[in-house]
Amino acid sequence: MTFSSNEVFKIRLRSITGIWLRHAVAFIRYWKFVITWVLVEPVIVLVAVGFGIGKLVNSVEGADSYAEFVTPGLIMGSAMFHALFETSWNAYNRIENDVYETALTAPITVVEVTLGDVLWAVTRSIMTTIGVASVAVAFGWLDGWLAFGILIPSAMVGVLFGTMGFLFSAIAPHTTFLTIVFTLIATPLYFFSGSFFPLSTLPDWVEPIAWLMPLTPGVHIARGFALGHLDITHLWAAVYMIGLTIVMWPLVIYLLKRRLVK
């Protein structure tokens, strides 16, 4: 049930892009509905928080305004939601509706299917990042060439949470089970990863825990790019995210094989 040498060393690019293309085509067919989540919803939050709460907050460390501080955090939160949703909720439906089973009747492997899905999760993270960031630029809350660097943590968040989502879809007995992905994972991370306020404002004993949360390094890196200040801590944050992804990967493959190849 672990990796066979065939699967790891003979990964075919076409199998991965084939899966990706399927998702892209299905996405485009229903873009009018999905776009509300890619763009409309996060922009509403951005505007409400930037203009509304921004008026009440005088200064935040390192940023000229609260809106500038919160923008990279909201972008990463949106990137996380999209990747996580794709491989938990959507992937669960693909398991139940035999989309993966059909894919596996083709000469492709579980590893390739998973890679294709994660690639699509990353694509969604990047889409929402570009959308929300463009609006933030229009408001003057994001500027400078360095801001393009936000695409890097956005992709990393996509890979990390795209991988993580499978931990739930692969074991979910029903869709209601997936509720916990959002109530226990996504929502707490959205608020306690330094998106809305600096982690230093948390009680002393909570702060180190918040730093270990998987979205925190993404927000940290994104804010580094947004505010034009990068140092060695951003590199460590990247290493931490990559490490988390690598640790989760074999478990995801094990669980998916147990679910799909039976």
């Binding site: 199998s15 509706n97 009747t105 000469p107």
Partner: protein
């Protein structure tokens, strides 16, 4: 693939005059219950081979093992000389697979279901397009190509699933219960198309619990029950071997059912009951006299030739449709 096994494969082919599928002692269990309990069979190139048995006989597990969708616990399984356990991917390069529930992508159109599958298996964009048009044509789905999957009838869905399995121009297709759940008209259509595919040289392996389907399509079949293959042969051979020449079927009005039962029991004539229909098979070949029954009101007797249903009954003591 090492040189050693390459030459093995070659010798193997020469020695045995090419069986396309060779399954030996296949075994697969779920929670210590054997779903497939040591079955062996061969399928020759170009033939249509069927696994006939009730639900739960192990047919689906066998079909899934052929393409590597279900792991093999023990035994050996080769398709075109390729070891399925070692390299199921290479097997799927030459095999089309139709799973039991069609596995169509509801988020896509008919055309997209085919084209994207073609792209997934490695066809270039232009050859995937070309092949999509070919199979749409063959399966008469061209005018439905822009339709959503959920708009299709059950028969069209099944034909689309078979069409998809043909995207790779496979040498063998494996179909798990290709006509289950279809109305008679759609079923005939599926059968017709499978017959044409066979004629074009495609080897067909199918599982079914319809004896008509097995009798109509299969060159050879095996009777499967409780994870085991009970016997194997052409449909005619099997009927000759296990079925009575003639079976009397008695349609009985509910009010007279008891009298008919009593009569048959009194004369020690074996029979079986499916709803209000009694089948009297007698011993093999023997034709018990039941003419007296015609005197009872609401009784209608007729005779039919023995069929695969009777074969299954003889081999297992149960009805095929009992499951």
């Amino acid at each position: 693939m090492s040189e050693q096994s390459e030459s093995d494969r070659h010798q193997h082919k020469n020695a045995l005059a090419v069986s396309l599928i060779e399954a030996n002692n296949l075994y697969r269990s779920y929670r210590n219950i054997a779903a497939v309990d040591g079955i062996s069979f061969r399928v020759e190139t170009g033939e249509t081979y069927g696994l006939l048995g009730p639900n739960g006989a192990g047919k689906t597990t066998t079909m899934r093992m052929l393409s590597g969708l279900t792991p093999v616990d023990s035994g050996t399984l080769r398709v075109a000389g390729i070891d399925v356990v070692q390299d199921s991917r290479s097997v799927r390069e030459i095999m089309g697979v139709v799973t039991q529930h069609d596995g169509l992508d509801a988020g896509l159109t008919v055309y997209q279901n085919l084209f994207l599958y073609g792209f997934l298996i490695g066809l270039s964009k232009s050859s995937a397009q070309k092949r999509t048009h070919e199979v749409l044509e063959f399966f008469n789905l061209r005018d439905r190509s822009k339709a959503n999957v959920y708009e299709l009838s059950g028969g069209m869905k099944r034909r689309l699933a078979i069409a998809r399995s043909m995207m790779s121009s496979p040498t063998v297709i494996v179909l798990d219960e290709p006509s289950t759940g279809l109305d008679p008209q759609s079923r005939n259509r599926v059968w017709e198309e499978l017959a044409i595919l066979k004629e074009s040289g495609v080897t067909v392996v199918l599982s079914t619990h319809y004896m008509e389907e097995a009798a109509t399509l299969c060159d050879r079949l095996s009777i499967m029950d409780r994870g085991k293959i009970l016997d194997e042969g052409t449909p005619d051979q099997m009927i000759l071997r296990y079925a009575p020449k003639e079976v009397a079927q008695i349609r009985v009005a509910p009010g007279s059912l008891r009298r008919v039962r009593d009569y048959l029991n009194k004369h020690e004539i074996p029979f079986r009951e499916v709803g209000a229909l009694l089948s009297v098979t007698g011993d093999r070949g023997a034709n018990p006299d039941i003419s007296e029954l015609n005197g009872i009101t609401g009784v209608k007797a007729s005779y039919r030739a023995g069929n695969l249903e009777d074969v299954f009954l003889t081999l297992t003591g149960r009805e095929l449709r009992d499951g």
